[in-house]
Symmetry: C2
Subunit: 624 residues, 2 copies
């Protein structure tokens, strides 16, 4: 086997049994890994009515067939389960070092079933797997957990994917982290670990995956190394991190601000990548085999001094705790980021929950006494930080917000639903659909709720589609269009980006992302060099489409219908500031675009589920 190990570790936490499955090459070729592989286990094993936080949920950690190749960007892994936040398909990818290490330890994926009575962690090393006691560090934050487990297994280089106290307390947007900063952020998969009393999965291995054409893999690595230094997007990302997006988005009037009421933030400069670099950044970091080093290492300034080990805030985090809450203090944002990484919470949902609470507060839906005395006005950095911690510890108002804005707004009442911005229960990421309408369509259609990494962003394709011509998109498309040409763009781009989630490839490193050094056509070439398969972009895109339809089938079972493919009312209302002031999504145009996309995807208009012929075309009858 080249690329993959043909070993899936199946862990029954209730029975404390580990066993190994070898599904064979066809399985890997059909699913490629990641979300596709995970969906297979969810569809085969999960009863639809299962409580995501009950013992019957299934949690999968999966790599792709190319994970662990010494190529920049090929180092991620997926965690999937039924999401406690959406009640449907939950997925989250993370970079770092854990994914490759799992493969070096001899496994492609870990499927966790059941739940343990007492806290445990998994220790997977060189083909072996053990369920070990975690009682000693239950309740601890991620850093202490990581240190304790490394001591416990006597392996300082073990890679630890763990939860923090937020996951243990079943915060519905708790995340999984490796190396304290690479997060499988979204959808509350850390709460699923918490509900299973699984504190961490520690991995260490000395085996390296074999490649069919190691010379070609080496040449490709060399090509990347020589190319990225000449690539302006990659160089800039290395210098400023993802925070480099703050100022251009603000100038473009689509920096999410004041819980998406505004598109510009007066203090954008303060939370920009440029300012970060000049003030709190002390170093940069990157994932396995990647020289771009897009991660920041920061030390916040007093009173928000932070521990560099927890990393620095990404653009999404800066948007959520910064402009969305109108907090113009990069140290406060970094502190909130550290809280999230230490307690194990998704920074997007956490920041959105705070901004939601602030808008409730400004409109009287939450009163000061409901907020434990916090003055939850937009712009109050101290209140933002405090409320973030209260969510992590489920204290007071934090306990309500820990359920996510959808559930919180129902509990709060008083018109709070109007301020709860989410798709399928998942909070909106820091990308404003009113200035790039493809995002509205893609937010609505995503099986796992609002996700900014499932279809590329429109403005780029108004200027040029050169990088995505191999995907069959030959003509530029206006960023504000919602016509059939936009539906087509979203169809092919979302299949492409979700392909990257099957292979667990970093979306920054590859086209059409502005940082992308790899071109679209590198992907089939790399898959071929690694696995030896005579594959093609067509075959890979069909595998992605398979996973997209499996997610639809899964959601259908969980009770989702076409009416859940929608975006919050706010986006049908005008933006209140900036160069795009007055911009709004046409509800009618979006409805029509959704219908068109359904039809292009082969989905039923009534339910949003795949039609029989699509199921048959993708050979999914065993799941439908």
């Amino acid at each position: 086997m080249y690329g993959f190990k043909d070993k899936i570790l199946k862990v029954d936490l209730a029975g404390r049994v580990c066993k190994v499955e070898a599904p064979g090459e066809r399985f890997y070729r059909r699913f490629l890994g990641g979300r596709g592989l995970g969906l297979h286990y969810l569809l085969k094993g999960l009863k639809p009515e299962v409580d995501p936080l009950g013992p019957e949920n299934i949690l999968v950690f999966a790599t792709g067939v190319t994970t662990g190749a010494p190529l920049p960007g090929f180092s991620r892994y997926s965690v999937v389960a039924k999401s406690p936040l959406t009640g449907g398909f939950g997925e989250a990818e993370a970079g770092g070092f854990w994914g490759p290490e799992l493969k070096f330890a001899g496994f492609d994926a870990v499927v966790v079933e059941g739940s343990s009575r007492s806290p445990v962690y998994l220790w997977i090393h060189d083909g072996e797997a053990e369920i070990k006691d975690a009682s000693g560090f239950w309740g601890q934050r991620t850093k202490e957990t990581q240190e304790a487990i490394r001591r416990d297994v006597g392996e300082p280089l073990a890679r630890i994917a763990s939860i923090g106290p937020a996951g243990e307390r079943l915060v519905r947007f708790a995340c999984v982290l490796n190396e304290l900063k690479y997060a499988n952020g979204r959808g509350g998969l850390g709460a699923v670990m918490g509900s299973k009393r699984l504190k961490a999965v520690a991995v260490r291995g000395h085996g390296r995956p074999e490649f069919k054409d190691p010379d070609r893999v080496r040449d490709l690595a060399k090509w990347f190394a020589e190319s990225f230094v000449k690539h302006p997007g990659a160089v800039s990302r290395g210098r400023f991190g993802t925070a480099e997006m703050v100022l251009p988005l603000n100038a473009d009037g689509i920096l999410p601000t004041r819980n998406f009421i505004r598109g510009t933030f007066d203090d954008a400069e303060e939370i920009s990548g440029e300012n970060m670099r000049n003030t709190i950044t002390v170093d940069t970091e990157g994932c396995y085999a990647c020289p771009i080093r897009c991660k920041r290492v920061v030390r916040g300034l007093e009173p928000y001094s932070t521990d560099p080990d927890y990393g620095g805030p990404e653009y999404e985090t800066i948007g959520a705790f910064g402009s969305l809450c109108e907090v113009g203090d990069i140290s406060a944002v970094s502190y909130a980021n550290q809280l999230c990484n230490a307690y194990g919470m998704d920074t997007i949902s956490a920041g959105c929950a705070v901004a939601f609470a602030m808008e409730c507060f400004e409109n009287g839906a939450i009163r000061k006494r409901d907020a434990g005395g916090l003055d939850l006005k937009f712009g109050n950095a101290e209140a933002m930080v405090k409320l973030t911690e209260m969510i992590a510890t489920r204290e007071g108002l934090g306990d309500i917000l820990a359920e996510g804005v959808m559930r919180a707004s129902e509990k709060i009442g008083r018109g709070a639903e109007r301020y709860a911005l989410h798709v399928k229960g998942k909070e909106i990421p820091m990308h404003e659909p009113r200035g790039k309408t493809g995002l509205a369509l893609q937010y609505a259609l995503s099986a796992s709720g609002a996700d900014h990494m499932q279809a590329a962003h429109d403005p780029a394709f108004e200027r040029s589609v050169e990088s995505i011509k191999p995907l069959g998109v030959l003509d530029t498309v206006g960023r504000l269009s919602l016509g059939p040409e936009k539906a087509r763009l979203v169809k092919y781009l979302s299949l492409w980006w979700l392909l990257l989630d099957c292979l667990d490839v970093c979306k920054f490193t590859i086209a059409p992302h502005g940082v992308g050094v790899w071109r679209v056509n590198h992907l089939p070439e790399i898959v071929g060099a690694v696995t030896g398969w005579d594959t093609s972009l067509l075959e890979l895109m069909l595998a992605s489409e398979r996973s997209v339809n499996m997610a639809r089938v899964f959601n259908g079972r969980c009770g989702f219908t076409a009416k859940d493919d929608r975006i919050p009312q706010r986006f049908f209302e005008p933006l209140e500031s900036g160069t795009r002031q007055g911009a709004k999504i046409s509800e009618e145009e979006l409805k029509k675009a959704i219908e068109t996309t359904y039809s292009m995807m082969g989905w039923r208009q009534e339910t949003g589920e795949p039609k029989q012929a699509k199921i048959e075309e993708l050979d999914l009858k065993e799941y439908a």
Copy 2:
């Protein structure tokens, strides 16, 4: 411009005007050439109700963007028009030397409109085009025509695509031939030339297409040269030609015999490639840049002595005049082949017309006196040869058969419809769907009527799908299945084979054909090396799908509906001999498979036309 010239020659025969259009790179990238390019001109220029044999029909000669590359198999060209045989989309490809020569002469395609009062031919040479008088050789057979035109233009190396007397006489299955033997055979496009009084298109040029990556093109040519000699299928094809199929198909019980009543022929040995090689074959030939040399040069034995310049019979011709008529005399078959090439008729339709007449005769629907005294029993070689000539000259019964079996059966009456085997008016090729059911589905669905080169043949995929895995087909499919897995196979294989008709690539030289030396993934690589486009198999398959849907739109305009997607009743009845005796297609299963394929293709169940979303996905609104 690499690969293509961005020059389309537009000829108005009525006004005697030639002009040149430069549609630009996007046009070539969307259509690639061949059938796709031709469909653009038909959809833009043709009124739906136009008589295919009237002056308003449009006739396009088109190459692909890779035509003329010095690579085996990249030498074909398409002729398209509204077909006088089907009344819908008509297309036929041919190899030889004409296609590359057109490009060397500076044009990618020729679009012919209107009709001339007196016979003319086109003379296209090194960027120039002239409409020249052909009165002097109107009425002449192809060989005399070719010689006369070469003398007339003073260019012995001019390549001539011409019609013969059959085209002039509007035989509805008249063909176009270059070098007297490479035929754009099917659908009666020679009759369209005849109706326009266009005797020939002569081309000669000294320009060579430029390639973006000439070194890569050279390396690919070298790779093929080194590979084909080691490839058993290619070697065997060079030794025996397409006639090598006779004996294996006979052994398999699917050699079309006695007008598709039987699947085995007692005299198969006599008409086999092996026997041809031992008796009448005097040399072999091949197309531009191709070393396989699959064409036969034969000299028939008395009383059927033939002129080697007309080439030897292909498998299809041997099936049609041989086993289908139960004529076990390879020289008689070769003589009929020569008649077809000299008079310019499609050998498949001509042979089928004779076999149809024989079955009518055996059943009393045609009497001896209707047949000019011929004893039209199956197996009568002399009668077969004579009737073939009568069709070419439209003499007696031949005049009726020259209309094709569908129209002839209506004229003959007396139950003759039962013996008229056709799809959409086009006679069935020499491949028996009762032993490979995918063919039944593909015959029914083809926009241009029964065609054996629009989806590959099933038995190969019962054994292995290795060669088509890049097309996303990962599992073997039983040859007799008509389930959804067969619909999927037919969908992807027909898109693949029709892609080859956009690029005008020889289907023998590339996978999945048994002779194929090129693999599927060579195609995007070659297109990229030639054009410089960063393309992919996905993009190319979408271009093919574009052409497939354009053909559907065209047929819809011509009045075709879902009910025309059907096969003759005979195939629902049992085969009467051989190892597959009793085999039949289930009418119900086929109906279901057609419905499934419609749905997989995004076509309306009621009409078979593309749904709005498919039109939009492929950006075809301007045609729909």
